[in-house]
C-alpha cells in the first residue's frame, strides 16, 4: 500500500512539473511583450531592468525555464503587479477559503447524492425514480453561476435569510483561525455558496450511484444476502451500496477536475475571496504572475484530490493489488 501511494505521489509531482512547464510556455508565447508575464511593464525602467536580469528575460528560453522551475521549487511565484506583494502570500491568504467552500459543498453533495442515488435505484420503476432522474437532469443543465444568481435573488434579497456575498460581514474583525472560520457569521456566509455548489456537484454522484446500484443489485451476492435472511436495510447498505460506491469514487475523482471550474464561478458570483475569484481578477487585470501562481496551485489541488480518490478506492476494494 505504501508503495502504491509513493508511486502515485511521484507521478503527481511529475504532472505538476509538466503543467508548470506548459504554463511557462503558454505565457511566453502570448502576443505582445513576452516579458510582461513576469515583469510589470508599468514600473520604472531601472526596476524593470533589474527584474529582467533576475528572471533571465534577456537570455535563452532554456535559461528562463530553469530559473522559472528553480523558483517554483522554492515556491517563489513572483510578485503580484496589482497587490505588490509576493504571489505566494496572496495564495496562502485565499487558499483556505476555497478549500473550505469546496469541501463543504462536496460533503453536502456526496452525502445527499450517494444516498439519493441508492434510494433511486432501490425504487426502480416507480414515479419517484423518474422524478428524481428528471430533477438531476435539470440540475445538470442549469449553469451553476446562474443558479447562484437566482439563489441570491431569492434567499438573500427577497427573503433576506442569508447574506448575499462575501465571506464575512464588513468590519468583522477576527485574527485566529477559529475566530475567522468557525463563527456564526462565517457559517451564515458559507451556506448559500456551499448550497449552490453542492447542487452543482450533486447530480453526478447521484446518477452514477444509481447506475452502479442497479448493476450491483442484479449481482448474485445480493441474492445470496437475501437468501441468508438478512434484513433489507442491511442488504441495501452493507452489501449493495458498499459495492456500488466503488465506481462513484472513481468517477468522483474525474469529476473534481471539472468541479474546480464550478468552484471558480461560484466564488465570482458570491464574491467569495478564494483562489478561483482571484485568478479571474488577476487575468482581468493582466496580473500575470498571480494568474500563473493561482493556476498552478489550483491544478495541484485537483491532482491531490485525484490522488486521494485513488487511495480511497484502493482501500475500499480489496481486489486492487498494490
Amino acid at each position: 500500500m505504501a508503495g502504491y501511494i509513493i508511486r502515485r505521489l511521484l507521478i503527481m509531482v511529475l504532472m505538476i512539473l509538466l503543467v508548470s512547464t506548459m504554463i511557462f510556455l503558454l505565457f511566453r508565447t502570448m502576443p505582445g511583450d513576452p516579458t510582461a508575464s513576469m515583469v510589470d511593464p508599468s514600473i520604472p525602467s531601472e526596476a524593470r531592468q533589474a527584474l529582467l536580469e533576475r528572471y533571465g528575460l534577456h537570455e535563452s528560453l532554456w535559461t528562463q525555464y530553469t530559473i522559472f522551475m528553480g523558483d517554483l521549487l522554492r515556491l517563489d511565484f513572483g510578485s503580484s503587479y496589482y497587490y505588490n506583494r509576493p504571489v505566494l502570500q496572496i495564495i496562502q491568504n485565499r487558499l483556505p477559503a476555497t478549500l473550505i467552500l469546496m469541501f463543504t459543498a462536496m460533503l453536502f453533495a456526496y452525502l445527499i447524492g450517494i444516498f439519493g442515488g441508492a434510494w433511486m435505484a432501490w425504487k426502480r420503476g416507480t414515479k419517484l425514480e423518474s422524478t428524481g432522474i428528471t430533477l438531476s437532469l435539470i440540475f445538470r443543465s442549469a449553469p451553476t453561476f446562474w443558479v447562484g444568481m437566482m439563489v441570491i435573488l431569492v434567499f438573500a434579497v427577497r427573503l433576506g435569510w442569508f447574506p448575499a456575498q462575501g465571506m464575512r460581514t464588513t468590519g468583522y474583525e477576527g485574527t485566529t483561525f477559529g475566530e475567522i472560520f468557525i463563527s456564526l457569521d462565517f457559517l451564515r456566509h458559507l451556506i448559500l455558496p456551499a448550497f449552490t455548489a453542492g447542487l452543482y456537484f450533486l447530480a453526478t454522484p447521484a446518477l452514477i450511484m444509481r447506475n452502479s446500484m442497479l448493476e450491483v443489485l442484479s449481482e448474485d451476492y445480493i441474492e445470496m444476502a437475501h437468501a441468508k435472511g438478512l434484513p433489507e436495510r442491511q442488504v441495501l447498505y452493507r452489501h449493495a451500496a458498499r459495492n456500488a460506491l466503488l465506481p462513484v469514487v472513481t468517477a468522483g475523482a474525474l469529476f473534481i477536475g471539472m468541479a474546480i471550474g464550478g468552484q471558480v464561478l461560484i466564488e465570482v458570483v458570491f464574491s467569495w475571496p478564494g483562489l478561483g475569484r482571484e485568478i479571474v481578477q488577476a487575468v482581468t487585470r493582466s496580473d500575470y504572475p498571480l494568474a500563473q501562481g493561482c493556476f498552478i496551485i489550483l491544478s495541484t489541488v485537483v491532482m491531490v484530490m485525484n490522488l486521494i480518490a485513488d487511495v480511497v478506492y484502493a482501500v475500499l476494494d480489496p481486489r486492487i493489488a498494490y
Binding site: 437566482m150 471558480v264 464561478l265 493556476f295
Partner: protein, 315 residues
C-alpha cells in the same frame, strides 16, 4: 443531381448502420436510424426533446428576423428618457437592461451563438477524441501508453482555470472560445471511445480480418468505426451540452467575445451592472433558455443511448 443525393444518403446510412455481430460470425444488420425512430415514438420525453431542439434550431437560424430589435439598440420612452431596468411589458417581453436594451432580442440572438458554439466545438472535440481513442484502443501497446499518458496529462488540468489563462493570452473572439473549450474536452471522448474500441478489438472477427491481411486503416474504418459510431454520437450530444455550458460560463466571467450576443454575455452584463439582485427579468430568461436547450439535448441523448445499449430500448 437526385442520384448523387441518393448515393450520398446511402453512404451516410451505411456509415450509421449499426452492425451487431454475433460470436459465431453471422452478421445481423440493424439500421441505427430505424431503432432511433422506433424508440422515439415510445419515449415521450425524447420526443419532447426533439421538438424543443427543432424549435431552438429554428430560432437560431432565423434569429435576426425573429428578434424585434437589435441587441444594442437603446430604447427611449415618450419623454425621451432611456427605458432603464424596466420589468417585462408588452413592448419588451423580458424587460430592459440598465442601459435600455431589449432583453428579449438579446436572448433570441443568443440562441444562434449557443447552437453554433455547441455544435462546432462538439464536432471538433468528438473528432479529435474519437481518432485518438480509436488509434489508441486499436493499436494498443506503446501507442496506447503514450496516447493515454497524454490524455492523463490533460485530465490533470482544471478546465475553467485553463480557459481563463488562455483568455489572458488570446484575443477574446468566438473562435478562440471554441478553441479553448475544445482543447481540453476531447480527453473525455478519447477515454470513452478507447475503452469501447478495446473491447471490440478483442473480438474474433477483428483477428480474422488481420489474418486475412486487411490493412490497419481498412480494419479501423470498416469494422471498428461502425461499431463505435453510436457511442460517439451519444458522446457528441453530451459534448454539445458541455460546450454550451462552458461558453456561457466563460462569457459570464467576462472572457467571451464582446461583439457576439450570447446568453452568458447577457448574464455577465447583468452581474457586473450590480443589478442582478433586483432585475429578475434580466437574470432568469437566459438561464432558463440554457436549461431548456440542454435538457432537450439530454432527452435526445437518452434515446441515442437506447441505440447504443439495447437494454434500454422501449419496445
Amino acid at each position: 443531381m437526385i442520384d448523387i443525393l441518393r448515393r450520398i444518403g446511402n453512404k451516410i446510412t451505411q456509415l450509421i448502420t449499426y452492425r451487431k455481430i454475433h460470436a459465431g460470425g453471422r452478421r445481423n444488420t440493424q439500421s441505427a436510424l430505424s431503432i432511433f425512430f422506433t424508440n422515439l415514438k415510445q419515449d415521450k420525453l425524447a420526443l419532447v426533446g426533439v421538438i424543443l431542439l427543432i424549435c431552438f434550431i429554428f430560432v437560431g437560424i432565423f434569429a435576426e428576423t425573429l428578434a424585434p430589435h437589435g441587441p444594442r439598440d437603446r430604447h427611449y420612452d415618450e419623454q425621451g428618457q432611456i427605458r432603464r431596468l424596466e420589468s417585462p411589458s408588452a413592448a419588451h417581453p423580458f424587460g430592459t437592461t440598465d442601459v435600455g436594451r431589449d432583453i428579449f432580442s438579446q436572448v433570441i440572438l443568443g440562441t444562434r451563438t449557443a447552437l453554433l458554439v455547441g455544435f462546432i466545438a462538439a464536432l471538433l472535440v468528438t473528432f479529435v477524441g474519437s481518432v485518438v481513442g480509436i488509434v489508441s484502443g486499436y493499436f494498443g501497446g506503446i501507442v496506447d501508453s503514450v496516447l493515454m499518458r497524454i490524455v492523463d496529462f490533460f485530465y490533470a488540468i482544471p478546465f475553467i482555470p485553463f480557459v481563463i489563462v488562455l483568455a489572458a493570452i488570446m484575443r477574446p473572439s468566438l473562435w478562440n472560445v471554441i478553441l479553448a473549450v475544445s482543447m481540453l474536452s476531447w480527453r473525455t471522448v478519447a477515454r470513452i471511445v478507447r475503452s469501447q474500441v478495446l473491447s471490440i478489438s478483442r473480438r474474433p472477427y477483428i483477428k480474422a480480418a488481420k489474418i486475412a491481411g486487411a490493412g490497419h486503416v481498412r480494419i479501423m474504418f470498416k469494422y471498428i468505426l461502425p461499431n463505435v459510431i453510436p457511442l460517439v454520437l451519444l458522446e457528441m450530444a453530451f459534448m454539445v451540452n458541455w460546450a454550451i455550458m462552458s461558453e456561457a460560463s466563460i462569457a459570464f466571467l467576462g472572457f467571451g467575445d464582446p461583439r457576439e450576443t450570447s446568453w452568458g454575455q447577457i448574464l455577465h452584463m447583468n452581474f457586473v451592472s450590480g443589478y442582478s439582485r433586483i432585475a429578475w427579468w434580466w437574470t432568469a430568461p437566459p438561464g432558463l433558455a440554457i436549461i431548456l436547450l440542454l435538457v432537450s439535448i439530454f432527452f435526445l441523448a437518452r434515446s441515442l443511448e437506447a441505440v447504443v445499449d439495447p437494454r434500454l430500448r422501449k419496445r
